[in-house]
């Protein structure tokens, strides 16, 4: 939980109730009931500002002074969405210059980079202006302070997608990944951009090498491994369609690397191979790969990923069960799987088939 303070008001600040230009307004107190819970020991200033805010809201005053009042109210609590909503109504009614508002909200965001309401306000103003030309700069500035700020990434993604700002995004991501190859947000953004630009076989090939090169730098990095795996699985590619990756991972293993992400990748790769051979009844010996799967899982469970001991034991069990299913062959297997459905839909003579 973050703290708010009203220390950032300057010394010449005068309470609203002492301001002559506000003397015509009747402040309204909050009705917190006879026995409130989670009560807050509001400061004098907080009470003063919100008593006047309630008054202008209740009388629908949309004026310059009301706009200033919302600025003070938001400085005391930037999470009050009603104040933000009313501020927007005032901006609209007074036909204010929204570029000034963009400037203002940028400053508020810099002070409250993890607050949902401030980002929402930014987004509405950008939508009203239909101009997202400052969004990449703003989010870059915020990501400079915290390269994994979820709000900033979400806003950036929205701006890029809505206003088609994809052009330089890969270069921006490169810069972030170069600075911190473990920045999972940047990897995710890369996947997002690639998908929108179109994941052609050429792009997939290029990106696979991009990921492998980053894995060579730091092997024990879940983000780059997840990206690589995600690319391979995208659009139902199977790992075996990419002999480069197979060579790369086996070489890493043979050179002595035992990163759990590498081992997990190999588990998946050999699982795929085993099941594929069984399902297609090809001439290769599936048990060569099956033994590797079990061996790798044992290594993970007992040495290299012991925190997930129970999980890797489970993977072995699941693998053995899947293998038995694959041995039955794809046709019968489907029959077994869809047994219930088939009972209803299949023609009568097939209902008496072997799978029953």
């Amino acid at each position: 939980m973050s703290d708010s303070s009203d220390e950032d008001f300057n010394e010449s600040y005068v309470m609203y109730r002492h301001r002559r230009e506000w003397s015509d307004v009747h402040p309204i107190k909050q009705n917190d009931g006879p026995n409130p819970i989670v009560a807050i020991a509001y400061s004098e200033r907080f009470l003063d500002v919100y008593d006047y805010f309630r008054a202008i809201l209740a009388t629908q005053e949309k004026s310059e002074r009301a706009l200033e009042l919302t600025t003070d109210a938001l400085r005391l609590n930037a999470a009050n969405y009603t104040v933000w909503q009313y501020r927007r109504e005032i901006l609209h009614a007074l036909k204010k210059n929204l570029y000034d508002e963009l400037q203002y909200i940028a400053e508020v965001i810099e002070d409250n980079p993890k607050n949902y309401q401030v980002w929402h306000h930014r987004r509405v103003i950008v939508e009203w202006l239909n101009d997202a030309s400052k969004e990449l700069d703003l989010t870059e500035k915020i990501l400079d302070l915290d390269a994994k700020n979820y709000h900033a990434w979400q806003h950036r993604q929205w701006a890029i997608e809505t206003f088609n700002l994809f052009d330089n995004e890969l270069a921006f991501i490169d810069k972030l990944i170069a600075a911190d190859v473990r920045n999972n947000s940047a990897w995710n953004q890369r996947f997002f951009v690639l998908k929108h630009l179109g994941l052609t076989p050429e792009t997939v090939q290029r990106e696979i090498h991009y990921a492998m090169n980053r894995i060579r730098l730091i092997k024990n990095n879940e983000s780059s491994w997840n990206f690589l795996k995600g690319l391979l699985e995208y659009g139902d590619f199977s790992i075996s369609q990419f002999p480069d990756v197979e060579t790369f991972t086996e070489e890493l293993y043979n050179s002595g690397n035992r990163s759990p992400y590498l081992l997990a990748f190999l588990v998946d790769m050999y699982t795929e191979k085993t099941l594929h051979i069984y399902e297609t009844n090809s001439y290769d010996d599936p048990e060569v790969y099956a033994r590797k799967v079990v061996e790798l899982c044992e290594m993970l469970a007992n040495h290299y990923d012991t925190i997930r001991y129970k999980y890797w034991k489970y993977v072995i069990q699941k693998f053995n069960a899947d293998k038995e299913l694959a041995k039955v062959g794809p046709n019968e297997q489907n029959e077994e799987k869809d047994e219930e459905e088939h009972l209803v839909t299949r023609e009568p003579e097939k209902v008496n088939g072997e799978a029953q």
Binding site: M1, D3, S4, D6, H26, I28, K29, Q30, N31, D32, G33, P34, N35, P36, I37, V38, A39, I40, A41, S43, F46, Y50, R54, L57, A58, T59, L76, N77, A79, N80, Y81, T82, W84, Q85, H120, R123, K148, Y150, W153, Q154, Q157, N184, S185, N188, Q189, F191, E222, S223, N226, F227, K229, G230, E233, A264, I307, R308, Y309, K310, Y311, K318
Partner: protein, 353 residues
């Protein structure tokens, strides 16, 4: 673990907060939820007198918005009394800005159930209409009729509300599930919104929403296995919310609950999880913090306790992972559902006769 010290920590938050916490003024109801549900999980509701329980219930009801006939479908609960006016002059009204907020509605109803209220003063019909009215074309939900963002968090809150009130009204569950499925990322986790990064909190929201809406079967076995791995890979002692982020107490709940829901929690490492949560405990002042050595807050205290409850820590009530309330409160809710059902059956019979 000293239960009393944590229960007293929560009861202090139920009383009075210092003014430096004014930035939480709009979401007082959620702090109320963490405190009340926390005291419940600690099996210490006896700490609250009957009178203070009644006061809490009455205050919660003062947050309820009863929409005007034919007006905005804004039923639900507000997070605080900011817009409730004390002795306003004639014609002064803030009613048009009083909107139910999904997160507040969910937590307020939960508090009422935990404290044994029968929900008879809850305007169930208006709330369900309100939930349906904030569903968007992409299947997601906004927090309120105006002025708020939309994302997976409110998909979750909407599901909790419909489940708790046992009525999905005009909510489009299928559309909702499509939004959830579209938010599954390449690494197996679920994002806050479509192609954002996978996140522990929003993965929980997505999985719980599928379960509450009885749509878990929409995940195929490949998605399920990837999800399982993504969740289990978050453990590094305690749990982290995203790959390559530091571990944090609250993810012992978010990740733990998601694992519970898909029946894979037993595959996680209990010992290390427990050690991490307990290392974040303040044994003197009470409460838990996100990181060892930092100061505690009600949010991390509540989720730390729920995390420990999943580990079957003695003295804690079992927690229902989807609704995030004690199993005892959950049973009470199921009883209310039975009573409602009986009533509506009786009404049907009376009409026939």
């Amino acid at each position: 673990m000293n239960k009393r010290v944590h229960a007293r920590y929560f009861s202090r938050f139920l009383n009075l907060l210092p003014h430096r916490l004014s930035c939480h003024d709009s979401t007082r109801a959620t702090i109320g939820f963490f405190s009340v549900s926390g005291i419940d999980v600690l099996d210490s509701l006896d700490l609250l007198s009957e009178e203070s329980k009644k006061n809490i219930i009455d205050w919660i009801y003062s947050l309820q918005v009863i929409p005007k006939e034919g007006g905005l479908k804004c039923g639900g609960f507000q997070g605080a009394t900011t817009l409730n006016l004390l002795d306003p002059p004639e014609n002064y009204s803030t009613d048009q800005y009083k909107w139910g907020h999904l997160a507040m509605t969910y937590t307020c109803i939960a508090v009422l159930v935990i404290l044994g209220d029968d929900l008879s003063r809850v305007d169930r019909k208006a709330i369900i209409e309100g939930v349906a009215s904030v569903q968007r074309d992409d299947g997601s939900f906004s927090a309120s009729v105006e002025g708020n963002e939309f994302d997976m968090r409110f998909v979750y809150c909407a599901s909790c509300i419909c489940f708790m009130l046992n009525d999905w009204g005009n909510v489009d569950k299928k559309l909702m599930s499509q939004y959830i499925l579209k938010s599954i990322r390449y690494d197996g986790g679920v994002s806050q919104h479509l192609e954002n990064e996978s996140h522990g909190g929003t993965t929980f929201c997505a999985i719980a929403a599928l379960q509450l809406s009885d749509q878990m079967h929409l995940l195929n076995s490949k998605q399920m296995e990837k999800l399982k791995r993504w969740l289990l890979f978050r453990q590094d002692g305690g749990f982290q919310g995203r790959p390559n982020k530091p571990i944090d107490t609250c993810y012992s709940f978010w990740i733990g609950a998601a694992l519970k829901i898909i029946d894979a929690f037993e595959l996680s490492n209990f010992k290390e999880n427990r050690e991490y949560i307990l290392s974040c405990q303040d044994t003197i002042v009470g409460g838990f913090s996100k990181w060892s050595g930092t100061s505690s807050d009600p949010f991390h205290t509540y989720f730390g306790l729920c995390g420990l409850s999943f580990l079957r820590e003695p003295g804690l009530l079992e927690v229902q992972p989807c609704l995030n309330i004690s199993m005892r409160a959950f049973e009470r809710l199921k009883n209310l559902h039975k009573i409602w059902q009986l009533h509506s059956q009786m009404e049907v019979q009376l009409n026939i006769e």
